[in-house]
């Protein structure tokens, strides 16, 4: 564990607005007193809670300085076993995909967009199998919960807690220019991540978003290093990998998107570098595949430790708005993926994992909109099947870029993906009246094929509507 010395801690403190506020308070407390001893300051600090604030600040700095460790083992054994099974399944899929590409080359046919190792439907279908496989001891109250798609006994935050946490978003108002300028100055001057998180929770001006993200990830003075690293990776791309072909196919969908088609080449370049980046394995917060080395297979896992999946391009696309420099876009994408998006593809009981998020959504909808929950089940279109695409890809392709970037702000702001639960609930509530009239899955598909515009604030409002 990396430890900071006192000098380093002081430097980090000095880069925080909160530190200078505390200092101002202390100075004010002593007015024009000439001689002030350490004991005097300590007494004063204790009397008006400044000591607590300073302690929290320092412990946060120390916590952040700890080197991030990748979560490999889950607290629930069953999920560790499942991860192995999932990896085996993906290896099989890889073989099938490889065979398909070989056949296509021989037949000289057009590229099939179904050439991917797994998509969100595959992942959800796999998670569903847990219900049948676990011992009864792991079930929650089976009778009561049996109508849910996912029904696993994992430690889950209460859904009311999540709803309460994000309720402040209902009170967000359009800010005046003066307030926006104040926030701009705050972002320019602030370096401490908890302060940046607070800003990200409320409002991030478009012009300062990239700076906030770079500061939060501590990249703001590292441009040269980022550029050098990226250039090295680009050179490695000259040596073609089979996965490159899958990434090129994945890029077809983004190349048809009216908001992202202009970035098609940049997205592909970023992804090709990504699957060659050795540092990802040590930076990623959670292990996605268990890295079992298969014998007698032509391909092993990429050096990242996980397979690229369908629509991986979607995670890069919104970040292309933030900078003209590809090495910056890459650095931001890598950080977002390693910290957050990886959980959307992890077989895990962690709070941010796809499993937990899905269960939270089912819990809220089955409790707050039981009619909708039941109706969707009856017409063969479970709640989660309807929402899984939006959830896994953070609504990219469903919302316009400004709203996606607001989602990314909230993810940073709370260091969590829970905002996706709120938005998924809101999405289902928004279309509730139409969904209740749907008689089958085709009707449901038609509802979502119409030209629609889903907005961040609108979905938040709907999430809390009864």
């Amino acid at each position: 564990m990396q430890q900071l010395d006192n000098q380093e801690i002081l430097m980090k403190l000095k880069s925080s607005k909160q530190f200078w506020d505390i200092k101002k308070k202390i100075k004010k407390g002593f007015n024009d007193q000439q001689k002030i001893g350490v004991n005097d300051i300590q007494k004063f600090a204790q009397s008006c809670e400044i000591e607590d604030q300073l302690t929290n600040l320092i412990s946060h700095i120390l916590k952040k300085s700890k080197k991030r460790e990748t979560l490999k083992e889950d607290q629930i054994d069953f999920l560790n076993t499942s991860k192995i099974k999932w990896t085996e399944l993906l290896f099989k899929n890889l073989d099938i995909v490889h065979q398909k590409t070989k056949n296509q080359e021989e037949d000289d046919t057009n590229t099939d967009s179904k050439l991917y190792i797994y998509d969100e439907k595959n992942l959800l279908a796999f998670l569903q199998t847990f219900k049948q496989q676990q011992s009864s001891a792991l079930y929650q109250n089976v009778q009561f919960q049996s109508n849910k798609l996912l029904n696993i006994n994992i430690p889950l935050k209460s859904s009311q807690q999540i709803l309460d946490k994000y309720q402040y978003l209902l009170l967000q108002e359009e800010l005046q220019d003066e307030k926006i300028n104040k926030i701009r100055k705050q972002i320019e001057n602030e370096h401490l991540d908890i302060e940046l998180e607070k800003i990200a929770q409320t409002f991030v001006p478009n012009g300062e978003r990239c700076l906030l993200y770079l500061k939060y990830f501590e990249f703001d003075h590292q441009e040269t290093i980022l550029q050098q690293n990226f250039t090295k990776l680009q050179k490695e791309c000259l040596h073609q990998l089979f996965y490159d072909e899958l990434l090129e196919i994945d890029g077809h969908e983004i190349s048809e998107d009216t908001f992202y088609f202009v970035f098609q080449e940049q997205i592909l370049t970023c992804l090709k570098c990504f699957i060659r980046d050795k540092t990802i394995k040590e930076n990623i917060r959670i292990q996605l595949q268990n890295g079992i080395k298969k014998e007698h297979t032509e391909f092993q896992l990429p050096i990242t430790g996980f397979f690229p999946f369908k629509n991986i391009s979607k995670y890069v696309a919104p970040l292309c708005y933030l900078s003209t420099k590809i090495h910056i876009i890459y650095a931001l994408f890598k950080e977002f993926f390693c910290r957050y998006f990886c959980f959307l593809h992890a077989i895990s009981s962690e709070n941010n994992s796809i499993l937990s998020l899905c269960m939270q959504i089912e819990e809220i909808i089955s409790t707050n909109s039981p009619k909708l929950f039941h109706h969707l089940k009856v017409i063969g279109c479970d709640t989660l099947k309807l929402i899984i695409h939006q959830l896994i890809y953070c609504f990219v392709g469903d919302m316009d870029p400004p709203h996606i970037l607001t989602i990314y702000d909230q993810i940073i702001g709370h260091d969590s993906l829970e905002i996706l639960v709120i938005l998924c609930v809101g999405f289902l509530n928004k279309y509730k009246s139409k969904l209740l009239l749907a008689k089958n899955y085709e009707n449901v598909q038609q509802i979502f094929q119409e030209l629609r515009e889903d907005k961040f604030q609108e979905l938040v409002q709907f999430a809390y509507k009864q």
């Binding site: 701009r184 001006p205 478009n206 012009g207 978003r209 990239c210 190349s255 048809e256 998107d257 009216t258 908001f259 088609f261 202009v262 970035f263 098609q264 080449e265 940049q266 292309c320 708005y321 933030l322 900078s323 003209t324 316009d400 870029p401 400004p402 970037l405 030209l451």
Partner: protein, 400 residues
């Protein structure tokens, strides 16, 4: 509230025009070709407008008729006339004490054949400069080419052209404009694009201008390069949809059109809010200055309005350059998003020129709100004719 069943006529079989008429419950005019009386709203070709306003035809529009072009719109929308009028206006403004207009948005341009010798002098002064040659009155990228050698002008003269010639005889009767090629365009994803923006003028004297909040960038399908070997590759250099649609990389889904909202988000996020604001101010300046330059020469008529398609190119410093102004911007829709945009655009045009399906009198025109649908009032000379700078600042705030 719609309360009148107006009669409409259209020279275009475009759904965005006709559906808008039909949605309002207006009735299609059943008049014969030679009659010009039985319509209230006419979406006409520029040629029919010219015929209608031709004094020889002895036809006068009545108070219940409105048409979509000013009689001599070509002063603004023919490339050679636009250049001529801007240069004239600049000369006039240079004599003024107060500098109120910025003209630094028109690339150095010469009109052929008249200014050929001036061009040759400039050409020799800057031998590494690329020029773009365009027919003055054509559209959709037809007849356009990039010029690096004087000899290339054989394309338009029909005979060999050498650098010591002092005049140029053109094979056809049409004029050409030759402009300095902006070879450092702003690129997104490595590709060149230009902007199509919509401006509605409901009156020239006094000038009243509305700007539409939706528009789009038109992207080339090939990566931009200044490589001389690619100078004739129109898929690299010309952004016209009419050209790009033939690229094998053309997508039916987005048609190479990138919304102006997305572009503004990109510029603000990647370059900063101040950079975006300056860029928009400069674009508004182009629109106002170009319209002001023809204000004195355009035949103003209360029966007329005109919706222009402004083509603007951004360079790598985010500086906008005026390419041309279209009197009849395409109303063909290439994608669902495109259709949505143009349907709303035409709908909003009618909401301004015929509020409540009626012909507004002067008082009603004065009382119009500054925002109607996607249109925002950019300039109204009536409000403060002596303080144009104040107008510009206000209009920027309205746009936001």
């Amino acid at each position: 509230m719609q309360n009148k069943k107006l009669k409409w006529k259209s020279d275009f079989e475009k759904s965005v025009i006709i559906e808008n008429f039909v949605n309002r419950g207006w009735i299609k005019s059943q008049e014969k070709e030679e009659e010009q009386t039985d319509w209230n709203v006419y979406w006409a070709t520029v040629w029919n407008v010219r015929n209608i306003f031709n004094p020889k035809n002895g036809f006068r529009l009545n108070d219940q008729q409105i048409i979509n072009h000013f009689p001599n719109h070509y002063e603004l929308t023919r490339k050679d006339c636009m250049v001529k009028n801007l240069k004239r206006f600049k000369r006039e403004q240079d004599k003024e004490v107060l500098e109120t207009f910025n003209f630094d948005f028109l690339p150095t341009t010469y009109i052929f054949p008249g200014e050929y010798s001036l061009f040759v002098e400039e050409f020799h002064r800057n031998p590494n400069q690329t020029w773009i040659v365009k027919p003055a009155a054509r559209s959709q990228g037809k007849g356009i080419f990039l010029l690096r050698k004087i000899q290339q002008l054989k394309k338009i003269s029909g005979t060999t052209v050498t650098s010591n010639m002092t005049q140029l005889n053109l094979a056809s009767k049409e004029n050409y404009v030759v402009s300095r090629y902006i070879d450092n365009p702003l690129l997104i994803g490595g590709k060149k694009f230009d902007l199509r923006m919509y401006v509605l003028v409901t009156n020239y004297k006094p000038l009243k201008v509305w700007i539409y909040n939706k528009g789009f960038g038109r992207f080339c399908n090939e990566q931009y390069t200044t490589d001389v070997a690619e100078i004739e590759n129109m898929f690299v250099h010309l952004t016209n949809v009419a050209i790009q649609q033939y690229s094998d990389k053309y997508s039916q889904k987005h048609g190479g059109k990138y919304s102006i909202d997305a572009l503004k988000l990109y510029v603000e996020s990647a370059y900063g809010t101040d950079a975006l604001n300056k860029m928009m101010d400069d674009i508004h300046n182009i629109m106002l200055t170009s319209l002001k330059s023809v204000q004195a020469v355009i035949q103003n008529d209360k029966h007329c309005f005109e919706m222009y398609g402004y083509d603007i190119l951004l360079d790598s410093n985010l500086k906008p350059w005026l390419i041309e102004i279209n009197a009849s911007p395409s109303l063909t829709t290439t994608t669902p998003v495109d259709k949505n945009l143009k349907m709303n655009l035409i709908n909003d045009v009618y909401n301004i020129v015929l509020p409540n399906d009626d012909f507004p009198d002067n008082d009603q025109k004065q009382q119009q709100p500054t925002k109607v649908g996607g249109f925002t009032l950019l300039y109204d000379e009536n409000l403060d004719p002596n303080n144009r700078k104040t107008q510009k600042r206000q209009s920027v705030k309205i746009w936001k």
